[in-house]
Symmetry: C2
Subunit: 235 residues, 2 copies
DNA sequence: TAGTGGTCTAGACCACGGG
DNA sequence: CCGTGGTCTAGACCACTAT
């Protein structure tokens, strides 16, 4: 049996995850939800509080409740530049598109992503430069059936991650963090040595059960790390 | 202004973090808290629900609410063996104590840990073996003023992490994840090559504002990874 | 069966902040 | 000012489960 506040929670979550309600959109005020669900205000409040806890909405007195800004990339945001850990501001960020190809998903990758082998994809490779030094290489696959508008976007001036966030702000994501040795190509791009330890963040995101994008972001291990208090949550 | 349910939440959290209430201990039933805080049952319930959300207590009908088992090591638990990702059971775990020394904290490390330079510590090094292969090397510092009983423990048969969990089950922790190249000693112990990419988890834990332990766990990068959905939480 | 938590109601008063 | 969320009350009924 699903309780009333759980139903309210799930209904609103679904609207946000599906993109029906986008960041900044106002959600119904409490008394409207009270009328819609025929329940008391406390019950509505419990559902909304849970949504705040998850970071999906923000509530403001007088003005109402709104869909929050996406937080799906927060993990990546927390990557810290070891050499300049102290100075949290004043970094110069730059971005270079290395390759952009429309292809079909190969057999191996299709299996890895649990998607159809012939699905049309956009394959991107780009380099992130911070303070003049290569910071990360990003290898990304965008599923064109899920995000058809990516076909018309050149990604010459906007990083794919940022573009996707604007296009598909909320999604479910799975992360994997690995240590890998730099292969020849990676080492060359990151201006480091072949075999050097790199920290690799892999993320696959879904919306409405369909894969939106798959990305591997590889950082030079001597220059970057994750920090914080991590809580793996149930998948 | 702190609300009633927040005060209840913080009071109980403090009892658990301080070790006053230990895992498995029963916490007062709702009507007792209602009497203690002179508030309604809903207010108590809200505080207890928040504690459940954080994983600090479990609530059972008829029997009451209890301090949950510690979860501070959950991040580490989620390390997955890449080669045997499929088989989630049937692993053979072994543990070897390599070194055990009582020393005083050096200048550099003291700064790193934000502790006094002459603090007495127990320095441990051990090797974790899973299915016959070196899985991780653990380099640990235990602050003897915070955990004096560690002085009498040989750690010959019980892993320090497990012992500490029994001794100091709840604490605040900070994690850092890095990729490092194996140095000669590490490579030898992990039976891999020098310079090989390794995944290093660093964790410092505190209880009542004092450092309890600092540990670096280094895994061979080709055999291990973190997986899951990570939510870095505000420090 | 009885004690416990799970959920809900129909109000209430207050704090905040935009107009 | 007044609409909004933040918190709280004093009950209520039900579900679960140890005994």
């Amino acid at each position: 049996m699903v309780s009333i506040y759980q139903r309210i929670f799930m209904d609103i979550e679904a609207k946000i995850i599906s993109g029906d309600w986008r960041p900044g959109d106002r959600i119904p005020v409490e008394h409207e939800l009270v009328a819609e669900y025929q329940c008391s205000r406390m019950t509505v409040s419990k559902a909304l509080s849970a949504l705040v806890e998850r970071g999906m909405i923000v509530r403001r007195r007088k003005t109402g409740s709104f869909v929050a800004s996406p937080q799906i990339d927060r993990t990546v945001m927390d990557i810290q530049d070891i050499s300049t850990e102290a100075e949290l501001a004043g970094h110069e960020h730059r971005f270079e598109l290395l390759t952009r190809k429309i292809e079909r998903l190969g057999e191996t990758e299709a299996q890895q992503l649990s998607e159809a082998p012939d699905a049309e994809i956009l394959r991107l490779q780009c380099l992130h430069i911070v303070d003049g030094r290569p910071n990360a290489i990003e290898r990304r696959i965008i599923m064109l059936d899920a995000v058809p508008r990516a076909r018309e976007e050149s990604f010459a001036s906007i990083p794919p991650g940022k573009w996707l966030l604007a296009e598909v702000p909320w999604s479910k994501a799975k992360h994997v963090i690995r240590a890998v040795s730099a292969d020849t190509a990676t080492a060359r791009i990151l201006q480091t040595e072949r075999g050097k330890a790199c920290l690799c963040l892999i993320r696959q995101t879904w919306q409405n059960g369909r894969t939106v994008t798959y990305v591997e972001i590889t950082h030079p291990g001597d220059r970057f790390q994750f920090a914080g208090t991590f809580h793996p949550t149930a998948n």
